[in-house]
C-alpha cells in the first residue's frame, strides 16, 4: 500500500509540472523568439533600405521625407533587439514581386466598394483596376455585381489577382413594362450594390472591434493614383478631395478656407447641394458607418447629383469634413469613362467564338 501511495503521490507531483513546462514552453517562448526574430528581420530590412534610397535620392522628386527615413533607422538600429546576433536573412527580390503587398497590422484597412455589371469592357476595366489595387497595402476589395448570380468571369478574375476580396451580387430590378433592357430609371446605377456592400460591412464588423477601416466607393471605370489611398487612410470621419472630369469641368473640388475647413463646393452644377461631390471624391471611416447603421444611399426619388448627399448628410456635417490632397489642390482621381466598343462587325449571329472570354 505505501508503494501505491508513493507512486500516486509522485505522479500527482510530476504530471502537472510536465504539462506546465511543455505547454508553457511552446506558447510563451515562441512569441519571445518570434519577437526577437521579427525584430532582427525588420532591423536588417531597415538597414538595407537606406542604402538603396541614397542611390535614388536625386530621382525622387518628392519633399524631404526620404531624408528623414534614411537618417532615422540607420542610427537607431543599435537600440533595438540588442539581445542576440541572430539575424534572419531577408529575401528582398521576392518581396518586390509579391503582390499584393504583405498585410500590415498597423495600417487601417481600406474597404473599396465597386459595383460592376456585365458588358464587353467589364473584364478589361476590372483587370486594370486590379493592377492598380495590387500596389495598395491593406486593401480589401468588395466587388458587387449587378446580376442574379455571381458570374464565373468575375469569380475567376478575382481569384487570379490574389487580392483580398469579397464577392457579392444583387440585381437591380428592371422595369419589365418598358421595352427592351432598360433598367428602372428611378434607381441610379450602382445604388443597390453599394447599399449591399454597406450592409455586408455592418454585418461583418461590430462597432466595438478595433479593426480600423476606411470605406471608399470606387467605380470600375475611374482612374485612381496610388497616392490617393495613402491620403484617405488617415480619415477620422469623412475626408474629401478634388475629382477630375466631373460636372463638365476639368475638376470639381471642395472649397477650403485658410483654417483648413471645408466651407463650400467649387462646382458649376448645383453647388448648393449639401455635398456637391462625386462618389469618388470622399472616403468614410468604417467606425462612422458602423455607428450609424441606418445610413444608406437613397434608392428612389433622388435628383441627379444628390446621391452622394443622400448618404453623407446622415453621417457628417460640412464642418467635420477633412480636406486631403494638399488642402484639395491636387488631383489624385480622374472620373474617366470608357467608350462603348463598336461591335458592328459581329453582326446578328456573332462572328467570334462565344466561348472565348473577353
Amino acid at each position: 500500500m505505501p508503494k501505491r501511495r508513493d507512486i500516486l503521490a509522485i505522479v500527482l507531483i510530476v504530471l502537472p509540472w510536465t504539462l506546465l513546462i511543455t505547454v508553457w514552453h511552446q506558447s510563451a517562448i515562441a512569441p519571445l523568439l518570434a519577437i526577437r526574430k521579427v525584430c532582427h528581420h525588420l532591423v536588417k530590412e531597415i538597414l538595407i533600405i537606406p542604402e538603396r534610397l541614397t542611390i535614388h535620392r536625386q530621382r525622387l522628386a518628392d519633399d524631404g521625407t526620404e531624408a528623414r527615413h534614411e537618417a532615422g533607422p540607420a542610427t537607431d538600429s543599435k537600440e533595438y533587439c540588442s539581445q542576440d546576433k541572430d539575424i534572419v536573412e531577408v529575401v528582398r527580390t521576392e518581396y518586390v514581386y509579391t503582390r499584393p503587398p504583405p498585410w500590415s497590422d498597423v495600417l487601417p484597412t481600406i474597404h473599396v466598394i465597386t459595383p460592376t455589371y456585365s458588358r464587353p469592357v467589364q473584364k478589361a476595366e476590372l483587370t486594370r483596376l486590379a493592377n492598380t489595387f495590387l500596389h495598395v497595402p491593406n486593401l480589401h476589395w468588395i466587388l458587387v455585381e449587378d446580376s442574379q448570380r455571381r458570374t464565373p468571369l468575375v469569380t475567376r478574375l478575382l481569384r487570379e489577382t490574389g487580392l483580398n476580396y469579397t464577392h457579392l451580387n444583387v440585381e437591380t430590378p428592371r422595369n419589365y413594362k418598358l421595352r427592351g433592357d432598360t433598367r428602372d430609371p428611378r434607381i441610379p446605377r450602382g445604388t443597390m450594390q453599394r447599399n449591399l456592400a454597406l450592409r455586408w460591412l455592418r454585418e461583418t464588423f461590430s462597432s466595438n472591434s478595433s479593426q480600423a477601416g476606411i470605406v471608399y466607393f470606387a467605380d470600375d471605370d475611374n482612374t485612381y493614383s496610388l497616392e490617393l489611398f495613402e491620403e484617405m487612410r488617415s480619415t477620422r470621419k469623412v475626408s474629401v478631395w478634388p475629382v477630375a472630369f466631373v460636372g463638365g469641368l476639368r475638376y470639381e473640388s471642395p472649397k477650403v478656407n485658410a483654417a483648413g475647413k471645408v466651407y463650400g463646393w467649387k462646382t458649376v452644377f448645383d453647388p448648393h447641394r449639401p455635398f456637391a461631390i462625386d462618389m469618388a471624391g470622399f472616403a468614410i471611416n468604417l467606425r462612422l458607418i458602423l455607428l450609424k447603421p441606418q445610413a444608406y444611399f437613397k434608392l428612389r426619388g433622388v435628383k441627379g447629383g444628390y446621391q452622394e448627399s443622400s448618404l453623407l448628410r446622415e453621417l457628417v456635417t460640412l464642418n467635420d469634413l477633412e480636406p486631403k490632397a494638399a488642402n484639395c489642390t491636387k488631383i489624385l482621381v480622374w472620373h474617366t469613362r470608357t467608350e462603348k466598343p463598336v461591335l458592328v462587325n459581329e453582326g446578328k449571329k456573332g462572328f467570334t467564338d462565344p466561348n472565348v472570354e473577353i
Binding site: 500527482l12 518586390v96 473584364k123 478589361a124 480622374w334 470608357t338
Partner: protein, 332 residues
C-alpha cells in the same frame, strides 16, 4: 504519525500549488496578447519598426522596382506614343500601375510634342519605372484635327519610329554583356489607352522573331485573333479586310529586338492605307509562317483595345469664356 501528517499536508500543498500553476498557464494560453504587460516595450518597438518598414518599402517599390530583378530574364521594351490631352495623365497613371508589376520592363514614352512636357517629365520621374523619355512632333499635315474621325489619319507613326530609332542607337552603342542581353529582348508597341493584363507580358517575353495573340474589342468585333493550326498561324480571324498581309492591331504582336536591330530599315509607313500600318512594318521582318502564336495558341484574350471617352467640358468652356475657368496651375 506526526511525520506522516506533515508529509501529507506537504504533498497536498504541493499538489494545490502545481494545480494552480497549471491553471494559470492554461489561462495564459487562452488569452491573446496577455503578455502586453510584459512586452509592451517590445510590441511598441515592433509596431514602430513595422510602420517605418512599410514606408521605406513603399519608397523602394516606387523608386527601383525594375532594377531589382532576376538578371537573366529577357527585357521588354514598351514603346508608347502619347500626346497631350485632358486624360493623358490619367491614362499614363493607370498604365504605369500595370507596368510596375512587370519585371525588367523598360518604358519608352514618346511624346507628340516639340519638347518634352513637364507633366510627362514629372510623372515619369515619380513613377518608379525604368524609362526613356523621347519626343517627336507629328508634322501638321499628318496630324488629326479636332473634329476629324479617329481613323482618318494614322496616329503615333512618327513617335513609334522615333522609339525604334532610339533602340537602334542603343543597340549600336551596346557591347559585351549588354549587347548579349539586348539580343534576347522584346519590343512591344503599347498605346496609352489600351488595357493590358499582367500575363500578356510573360507570354511575349520569350519571342524569337514575332509573336502574336488575340486582341479584344477591336476591328468592330469582340476580339480579333490569329487562327492557329498545328502550332502555326494559318490565317487571321478578323471582320475587316482580312486580306491585309497582317490584319492585326498594334497591340497584338511583339517583335524581338534582335530582328529590329538586324533590319535597320523596317519602320512604320505613315502613308500606308488605312489599317495597313502594322503590315507596313511587319512585312519587312517576317512571314506569316514564322509567327509565334501565344496566349494558349491564340485562344485567350490578354489585351483589350479600350478607348477612353473625351470628358465633357462644356461648363469649363463656358467658364473660360467668362474668364472664370478652373485654376490652370492645378495639373489634371
Amino acid at each position: 504519525m506526526r511525520v506522516r501528517l506533515k508529509l501529507k499536508t506537504v504533498f497536498v500543498f504541493y499538489f494545490m500549488v502545481s494545480l494552480l500553476g497549471l491553471m494559470y498557464a492554461l489561462m495564459q494560453l487562452g488569452q491573446r496578447c496577455d503578455c502586453r504587460d510584459h512586452g509592451v516595450s517590445k510590441d511598441q518597438q515592433i509596431s514602430q519598426l513595422r510602420g517605418e518598414l512599410q514606408k521605406l518599402q513603399e519608397h523602394i517599390k516606387t523608386s527601383e522596382l525594375s532594377k531589382i530583378s532576376k538578371p537573366d530574364v529577357p527585357a521588354i521594351y514598351v514603346i508608347t506614343p502619347t500626346y497631350a490631352r485632358l486624360v493623358q495623365k490619367a491614362e499614363l497613371s493607370r498604365l504605369s500601375h500595370t507596368f510596375l508589376h512587370v519585371p525588367r520592363l523598360h518604358w519608352i514614352v514618346v511624346e507628340d510634342a516639340a519638347q518634352p512636357t513637364p507633366l510627362v517629365t514629372d510623372f515619369l520621374a515619380a513613377s518608379g519605372l525604368t524609362y526613356t523619355h523621347l519626343h517627336k512632333l507629328t508634322p501638321k499635315d499628318k496630324k488629326l484635327q479636332e473634329n476629324d474621325p479617329s481613323w482618318l489619319k494614322p496616329r503615333g507613326v512618327e513617335q513609334r519610329n522615333e522609339g525604334l530609332r532610339w533602340l537602334r542607337e542603343m543597340g549600336a552603342a551596346a557591347e559585351g554583356k549588354e549587347a548579349a542581353a539586348l539580343e534576347e529582348a522584346v519590343v512591344y508597341f503599347a498605346d496609352d489607352d489600351n488595357t493590358y493584363s499582367l500575363q500578356l507580358f510573360e507570354e511575349m517575353r520569350y519571342t524569337h522573331r514575332v509573336s502574336v495573340w488575340p486582341v479584344g474589342l477591336v476591328g468592330g468585333m469582340k476580339f480579333e485573333s490569329p487562327v492557329v493550326q498545328d502550332g502555326r498561324v494559318v490565317r487571321f480571324h478578323t471582320g475587316w479586310r482580312p486580306n491585309r498581309p497582317f490584319p492585326m492591331d498594334m497591340a497584338g504582336f511583339a517583335v524581338s529586338l534582335r530582328l529590329i536591330l538586324s533590319n535597320p530599315e523596317a519602320c512604320f509607313d505613315g502613308d500606308a492605307q488605312m489599317g495597313f500600318l502594322e503590315s507596313s512594318f511587319l512585312q519587312h521582318l517576317v512571314t506569316m509562317d514564322d509567327l509565334e502564336p501565344k496566349a494558349d495558341l491564340c485562344t485567350k484574350v490578354l489585351v483589350w483595345h479600350t478607348r477612353t471617352e473625351k470628358p465633357k467640358m462644356k461648363r469649363e468652356d463656358a467658364l473660360q469664356k467668362q474668364g472664370l475657368g478652373s485654376d490652370p496651375d492645378v495639373e489634371v
